[in-house]
């Protein structure tokens, strides 16, 4: 089972991203997925959590989890030692940051994979909504689903005009992170 935890602020679309990943895995790759938010009232700007579980067999465990394989952080001010504690031993952080060198004390080399998702989102949709960029970055870093499935999930979720722009963001984020990892 692969477990992804999404950490962001209300309004950044973290829960949407958790569902997009679930859709990509279940509807387009024949796997099973479960996506849920940290429950409760939604407040713009407050820290919010979302969870995605993916497996080859039906998932029945509905409890929240702390040992994530990937922790996607959409707002870098939320990255600290306590956030790192919700990762598994081998787990990785996918971080939205233009200056990831600031966080080297938190983790050994290669454990934090960073992308300047805010700039990418501003460039394409003119708004600092980074969820689809971070989705693309996660897909490149984790290979949980193929980029084609990720793009299909967006096509299935959003209205055509918005989908086109977000598919562009996913592809660009994917390419940037893939290049970073492959060197």
């Amino acid at each position: 089972m692969t477990k992804v935890k999404w950490l962001g602020r209300g309004g950044q679309g973290g829960f949407t991203a958790s569902r997009l990943l679930g859709k990509a895995a279940s509807l387009f790759e024949g796997k099973y997925a479960m996506a849920f938010p940290s429950f409760g009232p939604e407040r713009r700007g407050a820290p919010v959590l979302a969870f995605t579980r993916i497996d080859d067999k039906k998932i029945t465990d509905r409890s929240e989890f702390n040992s994530a394989d990937y922790l996607v952080i959409m707002d870098e001010t939320l990255l600290d030692e306590s956030a790192m504690e919700s990762l598994s031993v081998e787990g990785k952080v996918i971080l939205n940051s233009a200056t990831p060198q600031r966080y080297t004390s938190l983790a050994e080399d290669g454990r934090i994979i960073a992308l300047d998702a805010t700039s990418l989102a501003l460039e394409i949709i003119n708004r600092p909504i980074t969820n689809t960029a971070m989705f693309g970055a996660l897909v490149a870093a984790s290979k949980i689903v193929t980029v084609d499935s990720a793009l299909s999930s967006i096509e299935a979720e959003m209205k055509p005009a918005l989908a086109a722009k977000n598919m562009d963001i996913v592809q660009k984020a994917y390419d940037l992170v893939k290049e970073m990892i492959d060197g």
């Binding site: 509807l27 996506a35 849920f36 938010p37 465990d61 409890s63």
Partner: protein
Amino acid sequence: MIDTRKNESVFVSGDEAVALGVRLSRPQVISAYPITPQTIVVERLSEMVEDGSLDAKYIHVESEHSAMSAAMGASSVGARAFTATSSQGLLYMAEGLHYASGGRMPIVMMNANRSLALPWSIFGDHRDSMSMLDSGWIQVYVEDAQEALDMTIQAYRIAEDPSVLTPFMINLDGFILTHTYELVEVPRQKEVDSYLPPFSTPNKMSLETPKSMGFSTSPADNMEFKYQQHKAMMDSMEVIKKADKEFSEMFGRSYHGLVDCYQCDDAEYILVTAGSVTGTARVAVDTMRIKGIKAGVLKLRFMRPFPEQEIRNILSGAVSYGVLDKDISFGYEGTMFTNVNSALSGSKNFPRGMNFVGGLGGRDISVQDIEEMFIALQKCPDNAYGDYIKSRVSFVNMGVNINE
């Protein structure tokens, strides 16, 4: 991986799955008042009515009390009616619940299980529906979004059966089920139409066959009405089993009638659960089995009618059993525990039992919490009478120590 799932698959929340199940069931009247965490059900249904994909009259009423009243009006003239609520909303329509069951109106209602005030909380537990156990409604607790959709269709089939004619409450754990997205297979409309024919009732009120639906009785005949309600509920057990069997033949999914079992055959320690926590308990059973502990889960699907025989057969072979209640009847124990014990009281072998009260007000119940329940069951105290409640009822995952 090759996808062998034949029908349309969607990735939806429990609330959305209910809405899809309602649309497939072709209700003629929907009356509802929104309340978290049920809101998405009625939002989706109003959208479906608006876009024409559901041919129903949608009545946006001013309260839950009116939601139930409008559903009763619809049902009394022979319309298939749906409503949905949660928590305080369920309590607000409590008067109507008894009217609907006494009037033998097979209304189907989704209830998003949510805590009761005070303290005010939007999070889930079973205290709302458990407090309505005596209202004469059939009560099912579903485990996942697929079961939520499937039971919505089955609910009409069971409730409208001429031998039952009893309203039906489908319970989904608030947030844990209502707001969790997962893969759901959507049955084809044509097959649902053949499984669920249009509603017809002998009690239909019309200009051609005028009837009084809100009648009064004297002591000379009131009890006979109540006896008939009880009998209909008892008779619904066989209807529930038949509906499950035929659903399984047509759609390929069975929920095994009144209860479902996981690894109970040779189990020494069995935990009784209801609703979505059953899924988490299945994982705990797997980890206990790896450690060589013979654990099992009995999923109590129906609280009314109560599956006494099934419980007795399954639990009487165990060394000990636990009941995980997301409810507490203050001053005694969890309501499920009371009911399970009552079922066992007629059995020759009455194993030792413990009551775990957990998940109140939405507190998370983890796999580890459930593993600890199985460990406690291995040391279950003998049936003590002196300090019964203190020794048998414990609160799971309390944030404070209890100094007693």
